[in-house]
Symmetry: C2
Subunit: 902 residues, 2 copies
């Protein structure tokens, strides 16, 4: 088997890689190479490819023999560039060994710093750096990290030794320790390793390196990495690369520093350097959120909201502390943004005043920021409008549309932390990830409160509606993950103390119990007692521009599912072009109506049913008048009564007795009817047009209400209304004809009575596979269906034989086995249900080539499903009002993606 | 609009019609014409076409004007032939006016005899016949019938007058009345009509005729005709013809007679003249079953079973009474059978020694008789074998296979009647059709007991498992209808008396209450107390020949669904070529197993489940050993556990407590699990391979049982067993692969342990539309499904969105509206489900062109569905053992029908 190139150099005399090789080199390695090619200051290093990772697993966790020579040669190259030599006791080259996969998996895999130190090289390092304290501090860090990651020694052991040492010597901070202290600590650490493992800490630097490389490859398969991949749909066979890079030191005294930054504000999208740093520290110190870092840029005293320019807001800024390095950094940021045409998330180290770039990658950002950045970059001329549109994940827009805290609300502010991820949420306090998951499974909303989060907490963060931490900055684990998940997060709220044993949360002087309700505002960092009134978001600014651009590209119509005037208004505000589904039964559940509905269902004669329907008619008509007025000039699709009738009947004994009393009938009559209407599989039972066929008087009432309302609304608004009457559950042309005849007769009656007629259409839901197969017949001819609306929920249930109400445990088990790419109730099952939709469209359009076809149901607001609908030639999608903007953007992207393919 | 020919003459100087014109002339008219063409003695007459009937309804029940002249001309032709004139007072022509539709609808529509009599023509008739008594008897019959049918006067009125007259005059039988008596009766009848209608009985013979024609056309739309059409799927727009025919008289004294006959025994198929007659009577007297008629042929003293040669078994035979007429009749029968190539049901009248043929048609027969007649006629050379095979309705075979009374059973014989329709049945006594229907709806088996039945009883006959009447012969209403329906019937059991008011049945001296159990044997005429042990039918003779011929033609395989050794043996006996579906879960319900099954379901760990499965393994293995031994040399398809697990758990509190005690666990654990497993739509829930994927240990146990059993059965029988392991509910290739891997691993384990391996195949059910769509993927490659079995029940449920358990009220409503041609759970919905099956076959065979494909489920034994399966290229159908012969015949017919089309 020919061996492909296993090791790619960067920042040495040559650079082998580049950004495009991300699959082979991982994100970190590819971008380090790219930065080196750009001429940026990158410490020399090399990347071992992801192919080697796969080979490692294919061979039972064994590295290929051929790798050794390549790595040794590469080490010499790095040394040549750095002017040091790996393992050299006089002037040793130290390296970092880091993972780097194709997709960013922050904190999921292992990293080792300062590798190459042993009892001899530490002396050379001290001498060469002229800083013995730095050298032994580095050595103890290395022993601790290496022992933990490679040798499997619990890191708590080392922390205990250090803590003990400090106590014995009356020392408090790490900075209080001298070089000799660190020497003693190093001895104790080594001793502990020997005791623990029955063999000494490895002094052979080559062995150290191979141990580290193996450990990093091995960490691809650790539990938290696997969970992360599952959550983010990252295939197992992508593998990770390993980056071995010359160490540079942010901990070489007061002219050294390390920091992380975003080229724009990842929370708001504002164009401003946004980052934090620590003087005399190593990179991991910032990310771990253990010390609270200082801001890069000077505070802008004019900023309305500090969060717009600052991450941390305490301490001296880099701009003030090291103006030269700051300026160079700012220049690098500008270059990187122009080069990558995106906002970047970077890591850097300043070693004795010299800037080194350690990482660049597309920066994670809030949806809000992502939106603003894309629009701004298009306006700056960096991106085209289509590119800007494609940059935004439509699913995220949802988040923007969700409530924030009403500014007029009275808030009992408990404390304040960092505004780590925007959005507001109220919920019960839970103190562990497991508790969060458990509560979520029971349908309770919870705020996960932790001192700081770690990758082990991910499942709990997923289960929570919001996250609150006591420690950590804006780039802490909690902040990064919460933004990725779209969860509101307040981090670094230092007034918090958590007592896990007592299950209490102490905020200042007040004690809360797990289960107490709090509210967090991830946009302001506020932590508030109890629930707080929320407010609808603003839909102007970048959002408005985005929607305007999206509408200019998209061809697919977007309607909303709306049953009430409030929904309808919401839908219009969000840009819906009509109502694609008004579920009339929802109108039946209102308190003053349900009694008449029950009277109708309990009636044993047509006459009895008609009497009850007569009471419902004016209410239903009023509903429609309001809907038609709000949607004036836009189409409104009204679906006739769909759900099983027993849903309207009371099932509890005391309710049955109350209804019997109100209706003046015997309670046994109610019970008998409940039993009569109960079904083994109600999804597949007496509902939809099956009700209409047995009780045509219901159709009569509903269509009368529609037509009378259309005339009245037309008179009021001056705009004629064209209602689209939709039949549910049709699977046969005869069903359609029978019900349509009742509707047409009623329309004629109303026209005769009022001397004015309504333009209307009759169409049908396509919900069951048979409806798909018979689509041609159902649509054929002048009296056939004038439109189709795919009911993808029911179509999914029947095509897959999977009850939505019962699917959760099945889909959980299937997801664990990797069966089905996505939850079929969220994204249309393209291979199954999708094929049926295509068949239905084809057969319908064959007999009526301009047939209007939409879908309604949850899928109408899912971006992948919207793309499918566009590609399949549907006329429109209809979704919940809040998902209308998502659908509008997804529909535009569908056009752009299609154009890219052709 | 051009008027087509409205009136077709027969038996006059020319005959316009012929048998092929049955659609236009109805069965009676077409066959009268055909007999006239054959030169048989047919009284002259004419037929008004079914087109006129449709015109009559299209024009609001008005006859076309143009008809009058045609009818008048035709009447003259009849008169010319008969030597009489309609309305002539000296020598009047009398006519009968009868309905006659395309399909036989016995007794459903109206008939009028002796039309043309009035106060003047009756005198001429008396003179011409030289029989005043006959003339006035005819007149009073005519008044009664015409008043009832055309004028709407209740016929009870006339019966009361006659009864009264007899009482006043001390007379008992009709034959006791003299001509003068009848004259008085005629006067009283006319007076009654005048009182009733405020106008006299019509004396204008023309008006009489037009009234009668209108009434007969009108009777097409009466309630009982409409019910009959619905029950027999006769379209409303077929219409009826009207036959007007010269009267001949069976009531012209002792040399006259009237009778009905079958050319072969309609109960057994035996080749023998089989009929009954009444001296000096009109035809309606025989059919109505009011007087018990006499046999046509002499009793054969050697006949083992009198029913084989006799209908009635009392009185003088026609052969003895009128040997000349009998011989002529026998000659006519022979001619008719040869001509029509089928057994005929005929009506005849002998007028003063002269034979007249009034009707011939294919005779209704029992399934047994139909079978024997077809086979005999093929052996006689009258039919070819394919023709014989096509003569037999496969659905009827079911009937032959059903139990008869065990000859060794102790029977408490209550009485004996005529063996009117074969088969035995036990059930509760019910005394009205409504009670029968009600009991049937409650799932109770009933025997409908009536004095005599009438068309108003049809719904009750349908609902009953058997029919018993006190009066009427072998061609009485009860007998004819019961044979058509395949219901056992004993008629004319004269020892019966029914007291409807008291709801009692008196048999001899003993009184039974409604609800008491009796048994009837329609093959012997026995009525027996209580339930009686039944016996399986013989499958030799004509039945065996039929199956042999069918197998020679059919290409579709026929397997059986069998879960137990008993079923498997039954299946083999009925000619099944293997087991197409063994539902392993049925084995789990047996008393000694259900506890282990419950233990398995209640276990909260894999270990707990494995412990319980370990107990089930030997039992399941033993089941399979027995099945494999019985089916030695034939394929056996075993389906892995399919139903929702909650079906195995106890749902009643006391059961739950008992199980908790037996298993030594807390009852709340059981309740919790029951709740946990309960589902909204269990059909679409956690079942099938979904269970296998979550609990692979169940698959392991079941496949181990299968493979170990196959090896053991192979050792015992010396014939290697090739089990086909079938996965239920697969809709995705990944599901198939996951479960198949467990099966293959287990096979390898067993092979290793036993040092011998089993040849096996793994295939899948295709039950949900997604499985159809993914059929190609699921079958692809060496490790793909080796066979498919369409689960048409579930496929119907999901394709149509119709739960089988809940469908009854929906399908009842749909049937009333004519939606769906057949019950989709009986006959495959060809347009919907059928198309999906075709797609599945096509996709499966595209990747594996020899893919074995079957169906299992109820449809596999439905003849229409079997034909569809043949046409779609399936490999086999699998059905319940009792339906195997049906499937074998239907599969042969499918081949023959296909050949006829090409």
């Amino acid at each position: 088997m020919p061996v492909s190139k296993q090791v790619y150099l960067f920042g040495t005399s040559a650079t082998d890689g580049r950004a495009e090789l991300v699959d082979l080199l991982g994100g970190k390695g590819a971008n380090l190479a790219e930065m080196a090619l750009m001429g940026l200051p990158v410490p020399p290093g090399f990347t071992i490819t992801t192919e080697v990772c796969n080979a490692y697993y294919d061979n039972g966790r064994t590295l290929p023999d051929s790798l050794r020579a390549d790595v040794e040669a590469a080490l010499l190259e790095i040394g040549a560039k750095a002017g040091r030599r790996f393992g050299d006791k006089d002037n040793p080259l130290l390296v970092s060994v880091r993972s780097g996969s194709r997709a960013s998996m922050p904190g999921m895999m292992d990293t080792i710093l300062d590798l190459g130190l042993n009892d001899e090289t530490v002396v050379g390092l001290a001498r060469h750096a002229d800083d013995e304290r730095f050298a032994y501090d580095s050595y103890r860090r290395f022993i601790q990290m290496y022992s933990d990651v490679v040798l499997g020694v619990d890191h708590g052991l080392f922390e205990d030794i250090l803590e003990n040492f400090k106590n014995l010597n009356g020392l408090s901070l790490d900075t209080d320790l001298s070089a000799d202290h660190w020497k003693e600590i190093v001895d104790e650490f080594k001793e502990a390793v020997t005791t623990e493992l029955d063999e000494p800490f490895p002094q052979d630097t080559g062995a150290q390196l191979w141990g580290a490389i193996g450990a990093v490859f091995g960490s691809w398969d650790n539990a938290r990495a696997k969970i992360y991949r599952r959550l983010h749909n990252i295939p197992d066979d992508w593998g990770t690369a390993v980056n071995v890079q010359a160490m540079v030191f942010g901990n070489m005294g007061e002219t050294s520093a390390t920091g992380v930054a975003f080229t724009r504000n990842p929370s708001t999208g504002e164009k401003a350097i946004f980052g934090e740093y620590l003087i005399n520290a190593q990179g991991e110190d910032v990310v771990a959120g253990i010390r609270t870092p200082q801001p890069l840029a000077k505070t802008d005293p004019d900023a309305v909201d500090q969060s717009e320019t600052l991450m941390s807001n305490e301490g001296t800024s880099l701009q003030e502390a090291m103006p030269h390095a700051f300026e160079e950094l700012a220049r690098v940021f500008e270059m990187l943004e122009r080069h990558y045409r995106d906002m970047q998330d970077i890591e850097f180290t300043i070693e004795r005043g010299h800037l080194w770039m350690l990482q660049t990658r597309a920066g994670k950002r809030t949806v809000e920021a992502g939106l603003k950045i894309a629009i701004d970059m298009a306006n700056e001329g960096v991106l085209s409008r289509p590119e800007a549109l494609l940059r935004i994940d439509p699913a995220g827009l949802d988040h923007l549309l969700h409530p924030t805290i009403d500014p007029d609300a009275t808030k009992d502010l408990l404390t304040r932390g960092l505004p780590a991820s925007p959005g507001a949420a109220s919920g019960e306090i839970v103190l562990t990830a497991d508790a969060a998951e458990e509560a979520n499974a029971q349908g309770r909303s919870v705020i996960l409160v932790r001192s700081e989060t770690s990758p082990e907490d991910i499942h709990g963060m997923h289960a929570a509606v919001g996250i609150l931490t006591a420690r950590g900055g804006m780039t802490s684990h909690a902040a990064v993950v919460a933004r990725g998940m779209g969860r509101p997060c307040v981090s670094g709220a230092s007034a918090l103390r958590i007592d896990l044993a007592a299950q209490t949360l102490i905020i200042g002087h007040e004690t809360f119990k797990a289960g107490d309700i709090i509210t967090i505002d991830g946009g302001t960092g506020e932590v508030i007692r109890g629930r707080v009134p929320m407010r609808q978001p603003e839909l102007s600014g970048a959002f408005g521009t985005l929607m305007e651009w999206a509408d200019a590209y998209r061809r697919l119509g977007v309607r909303a599912n709306a049953d009430t005037p409030r929904d309808a208004q919401q839908a219009r505000d969000f840009g819906a072009e009509g109502i694609g589904l008004c579920r009339t039964e929802h109108m039946f559940f209102e308190v003053e109506r349900i009694l008449a509905v029950r009277e109708m269902i309990l009636a044993s004669t047509e006459q009895g049913r008609r009497a009850a329907l007569q009471k419902l008619l004016p209410m239903q008509r009023d509903d429609f008048i309001k809907l038609f007025e709000i949607m004036a000039g836009k189409p409104v699709t009204i679906r006739l009564l769909d759900p099983p009738l027993h849903e309207f009947l009371p099932h509890q004994v005391h309710e049955q007795e109350a209804v019997a009393k109100e209706l003046g009938i015997d309670v046994t009559a109610i019970r008998r009817r409940v039993v009569e209407l109960s079904e083994v599989n109600p999804m597949l039972g007496f509902r939809g047009c099956r009700i209409a066929i047995l009780y045509p008087e219901i159709v009569e009432m509903q269509s009368r209400a529609i037509f009378e309302a259309a005339l009245e609304a037309g008179r009021r608004s001056g705009q004629p209304v064209t209602p689209e009457v939709m039949l549910p559950l049709v699977i046969d042309r005869q069903e359609f004809d029978l019900v349509a005849a009742v509707i047409r007769d009623t329309a004629a009656d109303v026209a005769r009575e009022q001397g004015a007629s309504v333009d209307f259409q009759i169409g049908t839901m396509v919900e069951f596979p048979r409806a798909v197969l018979k689509a041609g017949e159902i649509a054929a001819g002048e009296n056939g269906a004038a439109f189709f609306s795919f009911g993808t929920n029911d179509l999914t249930q029947t095509t897959m034989g999977l009850s939505r109400d019962d699917a959760a445990p099945i889909l959980a088990s299937y997801s664990a086995h990797g069966i089905f790419a996505a939850d079929p109730f969220i994204t249309i099952d393209l291979e199954g249900v999708g094929e049926l939709i295509k068949i239905g469209v084809e057969r319908g359009r064959k007999v009526k080539n301009d047939l209007k076809i939409g879908i309604c149901g949850e899928h109408g607001g899912d971006p992948k499903s919207v793309r499918f609908c566009h590609e399949t030639g549907l006329t429109y999608v209809s979704c919940s009002p809040f998902r209308v903007p998502i659908a509008r953007l997804a529909a535009a992207q569908a056009v752009l993606l299609e154009e890219m393919q052709t």
